[in-house]
Structure formats: structure tokens, C-alpha cells
């Protein structure tokens, strides 16, 4: 009876099927691993970083990376204009990028889901108000809106999160609203309505679970965008303030030294590229696997 095991295995759920699709995409899996690596770096930064990120050492001012003449292996990626270890600052900088990226997406997605569900399901004036607000916010180029808000609120971690989330929620909101409009006429929703379920129940228990996967996919890909925006704000000096290490401000620091000390700008920028690229590839893999509209 060799095929008993085969028969008794429960049938795959759609989720398992999608997950298997995703696991088959090697590039996406590798990218996911890179993202997790960055998350681990961020969490365990104090244990991993070889040096304190803020300790200055004027003797090591603009010391080149280890493999270049004048470098040393304990300062692998060299030092910046204040003699701080670039590798350690990159590791600590991951905390800022990932924390802000995750926080903005979390806040924006939560608001976006609530607003989008309400607009799409309740329709009427709620929809009008929310859609109008979305139109207005879409009237601003993203970075300019964030810059305007940062100018108004002043720098600081919470302010950056707010400045980005103020506009970011529009994106999940539009996705959720569209999906809700499509879903509200489905038979199972009609059935629940006919059975007298409350609007809250229908929105949360019937509609939400069915529209969650496109939202998760969009949010994942948007996180890459948010990380670049945060880095851009920091680059302009409107982000996290010194001496806190953030990748954007590290690239900005190095700008004054591109004539002889290329490493100061190069490595933090490379870290941004790597993380953002990994999130994008992983996100596209998720989209291909989980969003049925992208199946070819």
C-alpha cells in the first residue's frame, strides 16, 4: 500500500498552491532571504557592528576600505570624514530605513484599508469625501508633499513617518476601494447581506479576507518606494538628524569628498540599492504568485 500517504494527504489550499509557486521562483526566494538578512542586521545591530557607529576618531579620518592601500581589516569599508566606521554605520542605518519603511507601510495600510473598505462598501457621501481627499493628495508630487510637511513639522523620526504616511495611505486605499467595489456584488456577500449580517461584519469577515492578498502585495512593493523616499529626505537633510546614522545622510556626507574618498558615499548607497532591489524582486515574485490577475 504505497500510495496511502498520497491519498491521505489533504488537498492543497489556494494559499499553499501560491506559496509553492512563489518558492519555485528562485530569484524571489533569494531576494526574500536578503530582505530578512537586512532585518536581522537591523535587530542585532549592537551585536553585529564591529564598532560604535558614532565614535569619532580623527586619526582614521577618511580611512579607505581594507583592500585599498592605507586601509585595515577591522575597518572593512573604511571610515567617514569624522573617522567613524562606515560598516557599523551602515548596519545601524538599516534600523532607520527598515523601521521607518515598516512603520509607514503599517500605518498607511491600516488607514488605507479602513478608508478603502468604507468608501467601497458604504458608498454615498463617505465615498465622495474619501475619493475627493485621495484626488487632492494625488495632486501633489510625493517627494514635494513630504518635503513641505517636513519643513512644517521639523525633523525627527516620528515626523518622517507621519510625513510619508500622510500620502502613502492613498495607495492601499485605492486598491482596497476598487477590490471592494468588485467584491460587494459577489454572491457570498449578497448571501451574507440577505441573512442580515451587519455592515461591519460583512466588511471585516466577508470582504476583507478576500481582498487582502493584492493589498499585501502592493504594500510590499510600496515599502521599497518608502525606503527610497526616506533616504531622499535624509539626503536633503530633512530626515533623521545627526549623529544618528541613516543611509541617505551618509551618502550626503560623502558628497564633499568624492574627489578622493569615493567610499564614503558609495557603500551606504549600495546598501539602499541592495535592500530596495531585494524588496522589489521579492514583491514582484509575491505578485506573480498570489495575484491571479498576473498569471499568464
Amino acid at each position: 500500500m504505497t500510495n496511502v500517504a498520497e491519498i491521505s494527504r489533504p488537498p492543497e489550499t489556494i494559499f499553499q498552491q501560491n506559496l509553492r509557486n512563489f518558492m519555485g521562483n528562485r530569484l524571489a526566494v533569494a531576494s526574500t532571504a536578503v530582505v530578512f538578512l537586512f532585518i536581522l542586521l537591523a535587530i542585532f545591530a549592537p551585536l553585529i557592528a564591529p564598532h560604535d557607529p558614532n565614535t569619532t576618531d580623527l586619526f582614521r579620518r577618511l580611512q579607505p576600505p581594507a583592500w585599498v592601500e592605507g586601509g585595515e581589516w577591522s575597518y572593512l569599508l573604511g571610515c567617514d570624514q569624522l573617522g567613524r566606521d562606515i560598516l557599523s554605520r551602515i548596519i545601524y542605518g538599516a534600523r532607520i530605513s527598515i523601521f521607518i519603511g515598516a512603520a509607514v507601510i503599517l500605518v498607511a495600510t491600516t488607514i488605507g484599508i479602513i478608508a478603502g473598505l468604507s468608501a467601497g462598501y458604504l458608498r454615498g457621501w463617505v465615498d465622495v469625501v474619501i475619493s475627493r481627499l485621495v484626488d487632492i493628495l494625488l495632486g501633489f508630487p510625493y517627494l514635494i508633499f513630504a518635503i513641505g510637511l517636513m519643513a512644517m513639522m521639523g525633523p525627527g523620526l516620528i515626523n518622517i513617518i507621519l510625513a510619508l504616511a500622510y500620502k502613502e495611505w492613498v495607495i492601499p486605499c485605492r486598491v482596497v476601494r476598487g477590490e471592494t467595489l468588485a467584491t460587494r456584488e459577489q454572491e457570498y456577500v449578497e448571501a451574507a447581506r440577505a441573512l442580515g449580517a451587519s455592515r461591519k461584519h460583512i466588511m471585516i469577515k466577508e470582504i476583507l479576507p478576500n481582498i487582502l492578498s493584492p493589498v499585501v502585495v502592493v504594500s510590499t512593493i510600496r515599502m521599497a518606494h518608502v525606503i527610497i523616499l526616506e533616504a531622499s529626505l535624509s539626503f536633503l537633510g530633512l530626515g533623521v538628524q545627526p549623529p544618528t546614522a541613516s543611509w541617505g545622510s551618509m551618502v550626503s556626507d560623502g558628497r564633499a569628498f568624492i574627489l578622493e574618498s569615493w567610499w564614503v558615499s558609495t557603500f551606504p548607497g549600495l546598501a539602499i540599492l541592495l535592500l530596495v532591489l531585494a524588496i522589489n524582486v521579492a514583491g514582484q515574485g509575491l505578485r506573480d504568485a498570489f495575484d491571479p490577475r498576473f498569471h499568464e
Partner: protein, 335 residues
């Protein structure tokens, strides 16, 4: 498009523009720091002088009234005085605008001439080397931080290879009396090809940096719309007519495939506005973007307010234009 439809869209613009100005106004009204204090700076003045100044600036009026005064003035192009320059904001902005517009246009042209051929090639040779290159560029386009990419280009071409300038719009030796304020045009009008080349060498790197994300997006749009169009019956029918491959691809397929590309290009031109701040900062480009960034640190709020409003209005209008363009280009959408 019928006039009624057009009017409807124009009317749709009104609440959006009003909402945008409300937000810009609130943004600045809530900004900490008293504008009067900022204006006064270190000068010693009497409390009477101070309240007179406050009255002159209209800061003693209620919020709602101040908003309508702000909008009313803004419509007439009056954004108040730039604290730092001691000149009208509109004048300072007008001075910087040509540099920004010139850079944006060159970036747009760069994006169009690179993205369309590559997108088309990627579509007609699906899974070929061109398709791979297109995939890589489109990923890099959304993943490369613009400010870092700009610095890399500077390190390579300006420092290492030393073939392009590090910053600015034009060298001292090439400066000419302005006509249109677009240097690439003025240098030619003045009959100075050497100065033209100098201006061109200054604009190359900023334009590439600014245009790359747009290249990526337009290429993806062109590729996927071309792939879709190639599946259409009218392409098969054109082939069945025995037309040359070139005619089928360019006259029949491309003409339809470019409709979404063109309207996305119009939308994305709006996104160049945000990129301008970064790119102008990296390349020391004397445009509006850099002026805004500097003004934030100088607490020159009237200028920031005016610029943010200007950007937003331009952005809204570009989106509106993209919408109209799509309808006009697409004969299928009933007139």
C-alpha cells in the same frame, strides 16, 4: 472629445486645485516659528513696529480670511516677499524656473528616446537579450536612489574620467546674454556652438539621473502595450494583407501601442518635479528645486509655500493634460 465632456473634466479640476491650495496654506500656517520674528532676525525694533509689520503682512486677520487673501493673491501671481532675497517671491521663482524646465525637458527627451525603442525591441523579441536588458533597467529604475546614482555618475565621468563638469549649468567662458533663458537654445541663437556643447556637457548627467526612473516606467509600459497590441486581430489582418514587417510593426502596432506610453509620459513628467529637488542638489543645478531646499533651511517660508503650490498645480494640470491626450490620441474613445 465633446465640449461637454471637456467641461466636465475642467470642472473636476476645481475642487482638486482648491483642496491642494488649502493643504499648502495649512502646511505653512501650522509651521512653527513666527514669520515676523524670522523677518526681523537680529534687528532691534519696537513692539509698535512689530505689530505694524504684522498688520502689513495681514497676520492679524482670522485664518479663513487669510486663506482667501492667499488664494486671491496667488491667482494673480503674488506670493508675497521672499524674506531672504528681499524681493517678490514670484520674481525669484521666475528667475530659477527656466533652468528647471530645461532640465526636465531634456530628461523627458532622454527618457522617451531610450525607453520607446528598447520597449518595442523587448516586446518583439520577447525573452531575447533585449528583453533581459529591459527587465534589468526597469528594476534598476525603480530601485536606484537618484541622489546616489547621480553621485556615482559624477565620480565616474567628472572625477575619474574627467570628461564632464562637476556642477552648474554652463562654464564662465561660455556665458552669454539670455534670450529665452534656455541655455541650449540661447547658445545656438547667439551662434556659439562651443557654448552649446559646454551647456550640453553640463546637462547630460543631471538629465540622465532625472530621466532614468521615467525611462524604466515608460519602457515597461511600451513593452506591455506593444505585447498586447501584437496579439490584436488588426495586426494579424495587416500581416494577412502581405505588408512588410516594418509596416506592420511601426504603422499598425506601434501607433496603437504608443497611446498609453504618451499619456503615462505626461503623468510621469509631473513626477520629474520631485526628482528635480534631488538632482539639482546633487549637481548644483541653479533651478527651482535647489532654491526650495535652500529656502527650507533659511526658513524662507513664503517661497517654499509658493513653490509647493506651483509644483502641485503643475502636477494636477499635467495629469489633466495626460487624460485629455489619451482621449484625443485614441480614436476608439468616441468623440
Amino acid at each position: 472629445m465633446g465640449f461637454g465632456k471637456f467641461l466636465e473634466r475642467v470642472l473636476h479640476l476645481v475642487p482638486v486645485l482648491l483642496g491642494v491650495s488649502v493643504i499648502v496654506f495649512i502646511m505653512m500656517a501650522l509651521t512653527p516659528g513666527d514669520p515676523v520674528q524670522i523677518m526681523i532676525g537680529d534687528q532691534a525694533i519696537t513692539p509698535e513696529q512689530e505689530s505694524a509689520l504684522r498688520r502689513d503682512l495681514g497676520l492679524d486677520r482670522p485664518m479663513l480670511e487669510r486663506f482667501f487673501v492667499f488664494v486671491g493673491n496667488a491667482v494673480q501671481g503674488d506670493f508675497g516677499e521672499s524674506f531672504y532675497h528681499r524681493r517678490p517671491v514670484s520674481e525669484v521663482i521666475a528667475e530659477r524656473l527656466p533652468a528647471t524646465i530645461e532640465l526636465s525637458l531634456v530628461a523627458l527627451i532622454f527618457a522617451l528616446v531610450t525607453s520607446i525603442p528598447l520597449g518595442v525591441l523587448a516586446a518583439i523579441r520577447k525573452n531575447s537579450i533585449f528583453d533581459r536588458i529591459a527587465t534589468v533597467i526597469s528594476l534598476l529604475g525603480v530601485s536606484l536612489p537618484g541622489f546616489w546614482f547621480g553621485i556615482l555618475l559624477l565620480m565616474l565621468f567628472a572625477v575619474h574620467l574627467n570628461i564632464l563638469p562637476v556642477a552648474g549649468r554652463i562654464g564662465y567662458a561660455s556665458e552669454i546674454a539670455p534670450i529665452t533663458h534656455f541655455l541650449l537654445i540661447d547658445t545656438l541663437l547667439r551662434g556659439r556652438p562651443d557654448a552649446f556643447l559646454d551647456a550640453l556637457s553640463h546637462i547630460v548627467l543631471p538629465a540622465i539621473t532625472l530621466g532614468l526612473p521615467m525611462t524604466a516606467i515608460l519602457m515597461r509600459v511600451t513593452r506591455s502595450s506593444m505585447l498586447e497590441v501584437l496579439q490584436q486581430d488588426y495586426v494579424t489582418f495587416a500581416e494577412a494583407k502581405g505588408l512588410s514587417r516594418r509596416r506592420v510593426l511601426f504603422r499598425h502596432a506601434l501607433k496603437n501601442a504608443l497611446i498609453p506610453t504618451v499619456s503615462v509620459a505626461a503623468i510621469e513628467t509631473g513626477s520629474l518635479l520631485g526628482g528635480n529637488m534631488i538632482v539639482e542638489t546633487v549637481f548644483g543645478w541653479p533651478g527651482l528645486g535647489r532654491l526650495v531646499v535652500e529656502s527650507i533651511f533659511l526658513r524662507n517660508y513664503p517661497l517654499v509655500q509658493a513653490a509647493v503650490l506651483l509644483y502641485a498645480v503643475t502636477y494636477v494640470l499635467l495629469n489633466f493634460f495626460a487624460d485629455i491626450l489619451y482621449t484625443v490620441l485614441n480614436p476608439k474613445v468616441k468623440l
